[in-house]
Symmetry: C2
Subunit: 132 residues, 2 copies
DNA sequence: TATACACCTTGTAGTCGCTACAAGGTCAAG
DNA sequence: CTTGACCTTGTAGCGACTACAAGGTGTATA
C-alpha cells in the first residue's frame, strides 16, 4: 500500500503521514524498488490510533506517551487512564474559559443591540478594562 | 514610560509589545536619547484594547480591523457589531466541538473505571474507530 | 572611578501540527 | 514518446508569541 492510498484510507494528506514518520510516531515502512513507502495493515492501524487521539485533542507529546503505553501490553491501563483523565481536565478548563468569554461577548453585544450610534459600546467595552 | 514599565502595567512581556509594534497594531513610540522606546498613556490605552480583544479570542487580523473601525469614530458601530457577532459564532462552534470531544473522553473513561486490567479499554477505544 | 546589575536594543530561531511548494524520479496508459 | 498521476526529498510558511544571543545604557554602590 503506497502513501497516497493510506492517506485516502485514513483521511489525511500524504504529507501528514510523512510528518508522523519524521516525528517518530509512525514507523518507517519498507521501501519498494522505486523507493516508494510500502505500508501494511499495522501501519494503517497505528495511523488510525494517532488520528483518533489527535481528533480528541491529544498533543503529539501525549500521543507519543499513549503509544508507548499501548505498546507495553502488561502494565498500561492505570497510566493510560491518568493521561486521559488529565486531558479531560484540560478540555474542561478550555470549555469553561470559552464559556466565560462567550458571556462577555454576549454582554457586549446586548448593549450594542440597543442601536446606539456614534460612540460604539462594543469598542468602549474593549477599550475600558471591564474586568474579564 | 519605558517598555518594561508598560509591560508590567499591561501584564505582558516586553517582547510581546515589540511584536505588536512590528505587526503594526501598536504605533512606534518616540525614542529617548538612549534609543529606548518612550511610551505615553495613549500607547497604554491602545495596548489595553489589544490585550482585551486577544483575551476575548480575537485574532490579530480581526484586531487590526477592530482598531481601524475604532479609529473612525463616525461610522463604526454596525461593522463592529458584525465582527463581534461573527466572533461569537466561532466561539459557539468551538464550545460545541469541545463538548462533543468531552462526551467522548468521558465515555472512554467510564469504561476504564470498571477496573479492567490487561487489555486497556481506553487504548482500545483509541485503536478502534468508535466513530468520533 | 570601577563595576555590578537591571534594563534596553536588534535580530534570529524556536514553538505546534501540520500545509504548501519546488524540483525531480517512477510508472502505466494512450 | 509523451502525458499524467503518483512518488521522493528538502525547505518555508502559518499565528501569536517566546527565547536567546550579543551588545548598549543608566544608576547605585564600593
Amino acid at each position: 500500500m503506497r502513501i497516497g492510498e493510506l492517506a485516502r484510507a485514513a483521511g489525511v494528506k500524504a504529507e501528514t503521514i510523512r510528518y508522523y514518520e519524521r516525528e517518530g510516531v509512525l514507523a518507517s515502512p519498507p521501501r519498494t524498488q522505486a523507493n516508494y513507502r510500502d505500508y501494511g495493515p499495522e501501519h494503517a492501524r497505528r495511523l488510525n490510533f494517532i488520528r483518533r487521539a489527535r481528533d480528541l485533542g491529544f498533543s503529539m507529546t501525549r500521543i507519543r506517551e499513549l503509544l508507548e503505553l499501548a505498546d507495553d501490553r502488561s502494565r498500561a491501563c492505570h497510566a493510560v487512564d491518568t493521561l486521559a483523565r488529565a486531558h479531560l481536565g484540560e478540555v474542561n478548563r478550555k470549555i469553561a474559559d470559552l464559556e466565560a468569554l462567550r458571556r462577555e461577548l454576549r454582554r457586549m453585544l446586548e448593549n450594542c443591540e440597543q442601536g446606539t450610534v456614534g460612540t460604539c459600546l462594543v469598542i468602549e467595552a474593549l477599550a475600558e478594562g471591564t474586568e474579564a
